[in-house]
Amino acid sequence: MTRSNPPDPSGLDEPSPSARTPGAGPGVRPGASPDSGGPGGRLCAEAVTLAYGRTTVVHEVGLTVEEGGVGLVGESGSGKTTLARALLGLLAPRSGRITYGGRDLAAMRRGERAGFRGAVQPVFQDGSDALDPRMRLGSSIAEALAAHHRLDRAARRARVAELLTDVGLDPELAARRPHEVSGGQRQRAAIARALAVEPRVLVLDEPTSALDVTVQARVLDLLEDLRAGRGLTYLLITHNLAVVDRLCRTCHVMFAGRVVESGPARELLTRPAHPYTLALRDAVPRIGGAPPRAAGRTDAVPAAEGCAFRLRCPLAVDRCRTQAPAPRPVQGRVVACHRAEEVLAGAARK
């Protein structure tokens, strides 16, 4: 069972994780060196369109998971989770391509794909959904170990204990089932499972949204520590802008399946250039501050023609109705809005 995967790329049975470079096995990546962005190469979406049946959810989105962390924000239904599934190789693009280390996921052969699997791992929102309810936490983590390393029983057990300790859990918890531990512990266990394969990139899909605020803070601490300690790169999907500010250097804002604004996270969140980013930011309640404003008329459906956001946009003009704004560079970021300069100048704020 543990042998169903391609041999360790190092060609050795020696389980030293540091000796392992994902996707660099013999015959895995002939000749080509990774195109920068760490030893495993970069994870990219190139003009990716995603659809469920006839419903197109993501329209020609491009995105690169760069060092320093990338945030992907937007409201429910904006397509961010769907895009994440595609980046994880769980959903094939309708058009465009997902690449890792410059190689198209769809064109990868078995060995290469195993390398990708070992390099890009997910952490989902809800630990109780992400862990098999019938499996002990230790078994879930051991399954991840078995998928990429050949270890004997004792070594595997020791490694499970090590991973649990790494994420701040008591190794004793290995014997518990998911419903027998708290939500924060479940999420830590899910992170430990992802770490078991020594990934380069973690795709974090609302990793703290299902947790209490105090537990959220501690899981975020853990994520920061792990990134520093293991050289991980994060793609963080969330609607919590504060979390993006903390974990990401770059941020992309999605609306109705399109990226409407991308740029340096801090700048983008403090001085939005797209009315939707602004609305998202102002929708966050602040203690002692002005009451939050809904992100535009949230009941309005995305417009089919012109700018998708125009029905909710306080700045919409005739041009927005007839002409969909193309993404263009504006003051160090890329914005899809005809009136980005005015937004930056404070036009949307009264």
Partner: protein
């Protein structure tokens, strides 16, 4: 309580159920007794030879009394002994049918549900074809073609029963397939067959278990019907449906010959049904606590 019960081991779950639901507990106890009676028939039957081809013409059609609690039949065999031996036949048929139907149905259903796409389409269209026939009619047709025997009954019923399990399992497996832990396993590169066996199957079985206990009664009734129609078990095998058939003409004069095997069918089917209902209720997350 209810959510906890979902995660207990099956045995503990039965214990919880017995405490929560008296009727289901009665069903469980009755079933256990029937199974014991079937297993121990050669030892507890007052006239073990009467379970087979023995005849005692001198004692034909004696009414229930001290020597023969349930009376005797046309050839003088003890009806109680034959009812006990009949439990073996009926429970064997029920078990065999359910095992065959559940194994085939669950195996196909879990693949169809998890794989989706053309695999699901092919498997589900095949089940649709089977489900398009009235079950008893299809069983009858098969039983007529094959030689009347207990094996025939098993085959004939199992053929009409597995599609239900396939359909049930497919729908459950499809929803399990959308859970996060399946995505997580896929991201780890766990091969699909292993994902099915390790994650999808174990998490899809609960409704199947409920369906199994609900179906026990139905299979016994169908088996009795086939034997009653002369397409299943035949003399001298003790089988409840066959005994009812043989005794029905005597009902007005010698009521016991048909009544006791008939009651046995009724009680067994009833026990299966209340147990199944109880299991279903206890596993239904929407049920309000009583």
């Amino acid at each position: 309580m209810t959510t906890l019960a979902l995660r207990r081991t099956p045995l503990r779950r039965l214990g919880d159920l017995a405490r929560a639901d008296v009727l289901a507990a009665v069903g469980l106890v009755v079933l256990v007794l029937i199974v014991l009676a079937a297993l121990l028939a050669p030892w507890i039957a007052p006239y073990p030879d009467d379970g087979g081809a023995a005849t005692h013409p001198a004692e034909a059609l004696l009414p229930p009394g001290g020597d023969h609690w349930f009376g005797t039949d046309q050839v003088g065999r003890d009806v109680l002994s034959r009812v006990l031996f009949g439990a073996r036949t009926s429970l064997f048929i029920a078990a065999a049918v359910l095992v065959v139907a559940a194994v085939a149905g669950v195996a196909l259903g879990v693949v169809a549900g998890y794989a989706g796409g053309w695999a699901r389409d092919v498997i589900m269209r095949i089940t649709d074809v089977f489900l398009a026939f009235p079950a008893l009619l299809l069983s009858l047709a098969l039983a007529v073609v094959l030689q009347p025997s207990v094996t025939t009954v098993v085959v004939a019923i199992a053929v009409t029963w597995w599609p239900w399990y396939a359909r049930l399992t497919a729908s459950v497996a499809a929803s399990v397939g959308r859970r996060g832990y399946i995505d997580a396993a896929r991201c780890l590169g766990v091969p699909a067959p292993l994902i099915i066996v390790r994650h999808v199957l174990p998490n899809s079985l609960t409704p199947v278990l409920v369906q199994l206990s609900l179906d026990g009664g139905g299979v016994i009734l169908t088996a009795a019907a086939l034997s009653y129609l002369g397409l299943g078990a035949h003399e001298p095998t003790a089988e409840w449906g066959l005994m009812v058939e043989q005794g029905q003409t005597l009902f007005t004069t010698d009521w016991w010959v048909v009544t006791f095997p008939g009651l046995a069918i009724l009680v067994t089917a009833f026990a299966f049904n209340v147990l199944g209902e109880g299991l279903r209720a206890s596993l239904d997350p929407h049920r309000r606590p009583r």
